[in-house]
Subunit: 600 residues, 2 copies
């Protein structure tokens, strides 16, 4: 015998098998009720409201997960409540499985929330003279009984904390599992959070994510503190190679900064860093090795091989990251010495790995990685573009902060500028310097070889320069200029990237016109004027609609790998499938680079 | 087609299948050739000598494992050499599987050497511009190719060391595996050693073992440095419970002492502590918790439950033990708060778990654990015997060192003593004090309630005392005596142990006469006069041939678990099968204890 269940407002109606729960009935009828805990009454996600009919009595778990008011209004957990008559059930929209949409500007990546850790609330029998089991087996056996799978408490640090926690919590606790390992014991009402981090050579982006819903609750940015030991990674590799103390110092700088970001982001949402039970970190191979204190000398010498290329799972505390004591950090796999886990994350977030049409993805940074997806094959390379587009080594270069010139137009010899926050100009950020270069070329002030010429060019400090904002307009009393030296730096940077693009096209035997889609990732790439990029030859000339500018795709990729086991597996597959193209070994590379120096 | 192989001098003869190795042929014919590495040519244990016939050419591995002279004399590795004709093969006796006999005085435990780690020598292709694999996958793939099983390099610390080691060793190395994890990379000719430690409340015994042969190469003893924080474990538990710093201090004392013992023992055999790739540690539950920095308060309060009762596998470096960076330490499981892993090890070494006749096993120490094996069931309890038998709290008590009185006889009122090293007496050790008590009772100087009486008893310092050696015989100018106070201490100690024995007998519904065998383990137990022990009532009166005195059985158990996976599994089974008897809850315990105070 069975009862008829009518799910509202989704409008599904059908029988519930005898002894089955409302969740069983919902699943049979294709009602996508959320169930993070797998139907054991501990996640509270499958709450539904009884409209008419009779259900089995309210269970202890439901009393824990639902408020008295909710219970009074007929709310129940579908995984625990069984019908005792025909029923009409109202399903709140928040109880329906929603694909989590993770935003990258211009892209949307839908993934099912299925993190690498799982959370359950369990109640234990306290020890007595008749029940002298150790705390370890008492906990493991309670979890085993609750979820039907044997588990282990193999981390001593978790065991150390569990003994006190279980007594403090009166033997009822939230237990977080990673595979069959208990990694965290906390109060039943504690949040369980994840941390995703993209460590760039220059900047760090950190995200705190609710692992139950997949939603990003807080985001934080900071400078990479290793900058004090070198703006580029080579200088840092050299420093770390001096000895174990130096390597430890660089690693600790990052670990401390990440811990601080995590704590700040958690504080913002009323949580604690110890609520973070899983983390995913991406970065380029050098940053990855510096963070993990892996040997780096072989990264800096031909043939530039990583010490570790495979994905890494390591206890967070082993790498100095202060989150939950038993939590792991997952580092996505690297591809080569100069194409790292951040590139894998970018490919994951932008969907390039699944591209069916010829697609180019560029992550512009101090090191620029480029991937060409063509005929189902992914080929990536890295080019040393340097930090010019981030404002470094540019006379008035600055980061994208208030007062930075971000747009430049030259019309009829008049210079129009736009600054961030419309403040008086104090310098030029990456997108502004690219605009300036393009506009100077279009205005004929810059010749094809990159020389500043003509009456508008003045000499100062032994160099030719062009004034973007004179002393009177400037916010700091100094004229903001673009110098011949700046132009040379920019030419080198854009030539590095462009020759990389050309090497990939040549390798595939295609031309720029064959590119159906170009994805530009990274902070700089998001803000540049695509027209200017084409004018100076940074990008090949293509219809604008083929170009998509996305934000921190690497950070998004890290978040995807955090909230989805499937995405984490996919990252592995991507890393294995990408062919690495060693730029120095491509034919005619030096000629291509020299050609790319020109401004057409 | 197949060739006929004649194995000498074992006298086995039969066909070798085509494409099969000499090892295959030996196995098919029941010749027990040793093969620690599983037949991949890396352990060098299966060496044989070709007498007549032709074999496949000498391989690279054989060149590595055999000397030029051996090769010239026709020595080969049976696992790599394949016959190309009928052959006569001489098998040296050292190449035959010998069961390793581990000595416990009076016992012999034969086990097949099959440690929890395995060692292989592999050669890798160095990286080139055409082969840019990371060091991690280069190593894993080489091992995979050599042994046919996928392996992982998941320990960052091992990965850190491997990158430098592989280059230093010119891409040929000994790789030590634990299950599928690479835990050690070393020179191909480096030894691979194991460490077994029994941490007693008072003493530590450490053994360094060759994991290839199972032989103990060096042994060291030391005092447990935690003694500075309390002679008994309760005082140390109280100290550790004060806070994390105190707990860390006690743990570090042990870890440092163990590291020092390991280094010294290795130095003695020309090896280094970093050659130790596996370790087994046993100790009582309190020592186990103090060493692992586990919470201890619940161990000191009823119902006295361990934080961790299951066996523990933890990276040695995580507990401060300085051996190979990737090595694990295995701690045998505990049974209860006061019956620990050392008891499990003792049961393993003495074979009590397999006893078919009613057997009692006693490990006498500051805490004395007793196990009764009766009708296939093991029941254990613990009694707080105190350190009196180790010489503590005894007026002239001392450890078993030169000048300690170890034997006492009183004949016709004359006292005969024997000292360790036949030095002039300076004190009394455990066996001497037990003898003195028994002889005084037999001489009637001691009455049944334990009072010193009669003309030979003198008063000094407000207490009655009996002189064992007067000022003239003594080595330090002071009379060596046994005082009334000493007798009370000994009565308490022996009553604790004897009432424990009686509780086990009562629980099983048997009497002492039913005991077919009594095993006495521990340093004190090894040296006591069994007759004296019966005279004072420490042991029930039984035919002497039923009593076996063994040495440090716990240390032997640790060694067994080190060299044999099967023994490690067996320890688990023992821990699970032992029923714990809580002495305080046995009926009539206090009465039994009071009765046991008497000297019959």
């Amino acid at each position: 015998m069975s009862y008829i269940i009518d799910f509202q407002p989704v409008g599904r109606r059908g029988p519930c098998p005898e002894g089955g729960t409302l969740l069983d009935a919902a699943r049979a009828l294709g009602v996508d009720l959320a169930s993070v805990c797998g139907g054991v009454g501990s996640c509270g996600r499958c709450r539904v409201q009884l409209v008419t009919g009779e259900l089995t009595p309210v269970t202890v778990n439901e009393e824990a997960e639902l408020t008295a008011e909710e219970l009074a209004r007929g709310y129940r957990l579908a995984c625990l409540a069984e019908p005792l008559s025909d029923c009409r059930i109202s399903v709140p929209s928040e109880s329906l499985t929603a694909l989590q949409r993770t935003q990258v500007e211009g892209l949307e990546v839908p993934v099912a929330v299925e993190p690498s850790v799982a959370s359950y609330v369990v109640a234990l029998d306290p020890p007595t003279l008749e029940d002298l089991r150790g705390d370890d087996e008492r906990l493991c056996q309670a979890v085993h009984a609750a979820i039907g799978i044997p588990v282990r408490l193999s981390d001593l640090e978790v065991a150390r904390l569990a003994t006190a926690a279980l007594r403090r919590l009166n033997w009822r606790a939230r237990v977080v599992l990673r595979e069959d390992e208990i990694i965290h014991v906390a109060a039943a009402d504690a949040p369980w959070l994840g941390l995703a981090v993209d460590i760039g050579t220059t900047k760090i982006a950190a995200y705190v994510v609710d692992l139950g819903t997949g939603q990003t609750l807080a985001a934080r940015g900071a400078m990479n503190p290793q900058i004090a030991y070198g703006e580029d990674v080579i200088a840092r590799l050299m420093y770390a190679d001096k000895g174990p103390d130096e390597a430890a110092r660089l690693a600790a700088l990052l670990a401390d900064e990440l811990s601080r970001l995590a704590a700040d982001a958690c504080a913002e949402i009323g949580a604690q860093a110890t609520d973070i039970v899983d983390a995913v970190i991406v970065g380029n191979t050098a940053i990855h090795h510096l963070f993990l204190r892996l040997p780096v000398r072989q990264l800096a010498e031909a043939p530039y091989v990583p010490a570790v290329r495979a994905a890494v799972d390591v206890k967070a505390r082993e790498v100095g990251l202060r989150i939950a004591a038993g939590a792991y950090v997952h580092l996505l796999p690297n591809i080569a010495g100069y194409v790292g886990a951040d590139h894998v994350a970018m490919l994951l977030a932008t969907g390039v790995a699944d591209a069916t049409e010829t697609t180019l993805a560029i992550d512009i940074g101090t090191n620029t990685e480029i991937c060409l997806a063509h005929r189902g094959r992914l080929t990536s390379l890295s080019c040393a573009s340097g930090p010019a587009f981030e404002g470094a080594h540019i006379t008035f270069g600055m980061r994208a902060a208030p007062g930075a010139i971000e747009r430049v137009r030259i019309a009829d010899g008049r210079v129009e500028i736009k600054t961030i926050g419309d403040e008086p100009p104090v310098g030029v950020c990456g997108s502004g310097i690219l605009d300036a270069m393009a506009q100077l070329r279009l205005a004929g002030v810059l010749d094809g070889r990159g020389r500043l010429t003509g009456p508008q060019v003045r000499q100062a400090n032994g160099d030719a320069e062009f004034v973007l904002a004179d002393e009177n307009r400037s916010g700091n009393g100094r004229a903001i200029t673009v110098t011949q030296h700046d132009i040379r730096e920019l030419q080198l940077a854009k030539a590095a990237i462009r020759s990389g693009i050309e090497a990939l096209l040549a390798d595939a035997g295609i031309t720029a016109a064959d590119l159906r889609r170009v994805i530009i990732a990274g902070a700089f790439g998001t803000y540049i004027d695509v027209g200017s990029a084409m004018t100076v030859g940074l990008l090949p000339v293509l219809p604008h609609e083929r170009i998509t500018q996305v934000g921190n795709a690497a950070g998004t990729g890290a978040r995807l790998a955090l909230i989805s086991r499937a995405q984490r597996r996919k990252a592995q597959a991507i890393a294995h499938s990408v062919r690495y193209l060693e730029l120095a070994r491509t034919p005619k590379f030096m000629r291509s680079f020299a050609e790319a120096m020109y401004l057409k």
